[in-house]
């Protein structure tokens, strides 16, 4: 009984180290998509992390959809990773140890699968943000987002 009571008493101390209300309040952000041309990408900062918004070309979409799911480390259909096929929204943090993959700039290395490449430990991601090669265990995370109108999304 005393142990259970103590455990409950300790909880506020432990929970005080979790994200505070103001940190949680920063949780959502609206992004206007009008200035992102087809074939280009944009990085925005959300919850202290970069979010990659990629306006995909038809070719990139078909590349991402033709992949045999059995070849994937973390199998996921491209259809399940987007709301509208031309817009890919992913958190730009490598699932290995949290580095930021390259591929957002025109001049960056995009890896072997035309997406992103993490320079820290060499993980390759495809045009759907799925891990294809390297030590990363999972695909790039998809944040919660929705289209508030035709060309605007709200992340978080």
């Amino acid at each position: 009984m005393a142990a259970v009571g103590s455990a409950f008493a300790i909880w506020p101390f432990i929970d005080s180290m979790n994200p505070s209300a103001d940190v949680l309040a920063l949780g959502s952000k609206e992004v206007d998509l009008n200035d992102i041309d087809k074939g280009s990408t944009k990085t925005i900062k959300w919850r202290g992390k970069p979010v990659f918004i990629k306006h995909r070309t038809d070719e990139e979409i078909s590349q991402a959809r033709e992949v045999n799911l059995e070849n994937l480390k973390d199998p996921q259909k491209d259809e399940d990773r987007v709301i509208k096929p031309e817009w890919l929204v992913v958190v730009g943090v490598c699932s290995h140890l949290g580095c930021i993959p390259l591929g957002q700039k025109e001049t960056d290395v995009k890896g072997d699968f035309n997406g992103w490449f993490c320079p820290c430990h060499g993980s390759h991601y495809d045009s759907s943000g799925r891990v294809r090669k390297g030590p990363a265990p999972k695909n790039l995370e998809i944040p919660k987002y929705k289209f508030v109108d035709k060309n605007k999304i709200k992340i978080g």
């Binding site: 180290m17 994200p19 505070s20 943090v93 140890l97 930021i100």
Partner: protein, 404 residues
């Protein structure tokens, strides 16, 4: 009332608060083996370095600001504006490297002379706990200047916890106090970096209590039975320890005054940028062997477990080493393996600083395998097969043998 001190006031006080007689027992009278060599200086060297780190750290804390917008600039403020700030900061940053160097030598001394064996197992454990606390403190402290290596080192290391199944991500968010390494993280790291050294002091105290229970081990590793084999700590070892301090301060001073940034990474003079990862993230030199073990294994969880096991395996060392003979002097075969082990550890440190690709990756895997092979296979079987040299009966017999 037994009069322990000539001074009446001291006697009166000590009768009621016996710290003075305890201190005299520990620092003056304590019977110490007369044959200790200079490798036994590194315990007191670690002690003085801990004190230097606490004092310099306290002074830095009076000028440092733990906030993401101000931390980097406050460190530059210490370097440029604060009186002797540059000196205090360099003492603190070089001191961290010196502390690890000393402790690595101290641990190696223990490994060579079998200081972890019966009846000093708990003394050994306490030493490993101090080492673990030092690792945590050094990692937390390296985050504080909020440079690129600070930020990305903190990101990579805290992300190790995400390898824990099911609750990993929740734990990482809890450690961060947010959704990435950010201001709440910096604040708590500062708080913990301030706390841990005092916990180290407490464990050092226990380490010394355990040491004084059976006294120091010695280079020939036999139990000393006669009083003649021991001499009082003061003045024989106080003077020897002070001599050691003098030599150490010269080396320390060369680094502080002439090459203060040699042991650090230049990228940490670039302010932290959460949107740009440096091309090649490396920890401070003293973590490289363990970093190499982490990266040698291609699976995230296993890599983390291997890295942790490489330190925690030391707790089992008193039982993994099955030989009854302590000192390497009488263990001709273990002595060879000891030096191979030390060489292998340095190789691990070297590959830890390289990009884990091609032959570096292969070397790191072989070295990692050997590291564990040493503890889990070589040490246990050596105790049964090795023919040890005859042990002397006492210190004097050993020195006679040496002369003739």
């Amino acid at each position: 009332m037994v009069k322990k001190f000539k001074n009446k006031t001291l006697s009166w006080l000590d009768y009621r608060l016996p710290v003075f007689s305890v201190l005299r027992e520990a620092l003056v009278d304590h019977p110490t083996p007369r044959n200790l060599n200079y490798w036994w200086n590194f315990g007191s060297l670690a002690g003085i370095t801990l004190i230097i780190m606490i004092v310099s750290g306290l002074l830095l804390s009076m000028h440092y600001v733990a906030h993401v917008d101000l931390a980097f600039d406050s460190v530059e403020h210490i370097m440029r504006d604060v009186n002797y700030g540059w000196l205090i900061r360099y003492i603190h940053s070089v001191g961290a490297s010196m502390f690890f160097l000393i402790v690595y030598i101290h641990i190696s001394r223990g490994l060579y002379y079998g200081s972890y064996k019966y009846p000093r197992e708990v003394l050994w454990w306490l030493g490993i706990i101090i080492f673990l606390l030092m690792i945590a403190t050094a990692f937390l402290g390296y985050t504080l200047p909020w440079g690129q290596m600070s930020f990305w080192g903190a990101t990579v290391i805290t992300n190790l916890f995400s390898a824990i199944p099911l609750v990993g991500d929740n734990i990482v968010t809890w450690l961060w106090g947010g959704f990435s390494v950010d201001n709440p993280t910096l604040n708590r790291f500062y708080s913990l970096h301030f706390l841990l050294p005092f916990i180290i002091v407490a464990v050092v105290f226990l380490h010394i209590v355990a040491l004084h229970k059976f006294g120091s081990n010695n280079p020939i590793g036999i139990d000393l039975t006669s009083k003649k084999e021991k001499i009082p700590f003061h003045p024989y070892y106080t003077i020897k320890d002070f001599f050691g301090f003098g030599v150490f301060f010269i080396i320390f001073g060369v680094f502080v005054f002439f090459m203060p940034n040699t042991l650090g990474h230049p990228d940490n003079y670039i302010p932290a940028d959460p949107l740009v990862t440096p091309e090649h993230i490396v920890p401070e030199w003293y973590f490289l062997p363990f970093y190499a073990i982490l990266r040698a294994i291609p699976f995230k969880l296993l890599g983390v477990l291997a890295m942790l096991s490489s330190i925690f395996i030391l707790f089992l060392l008193p039982w993994l080493d099955t030989s009854k003979v302590r000192s390497c002097r009488f263990r001709p075969i273990y002595k060879q393996f000891y030096w191979i082990f030390i060489f292998n550890f340095i190789v691990l440190g070297w590959v830890g600083s390289k990009v884990p690709e091609g032959h570096y990756l292969i070397i790191s895997r072989i070295s990692t395998a050997y590291y564990f092979l040493h503890f889990l296979f070589i040490l246990p079987i050596l105790g049964f097969f090795e023919k040890t040299s005859p042990l002397p009966l006492n210190i004097f017999e050993n020195s006679k043998v040496k002369k003739s």
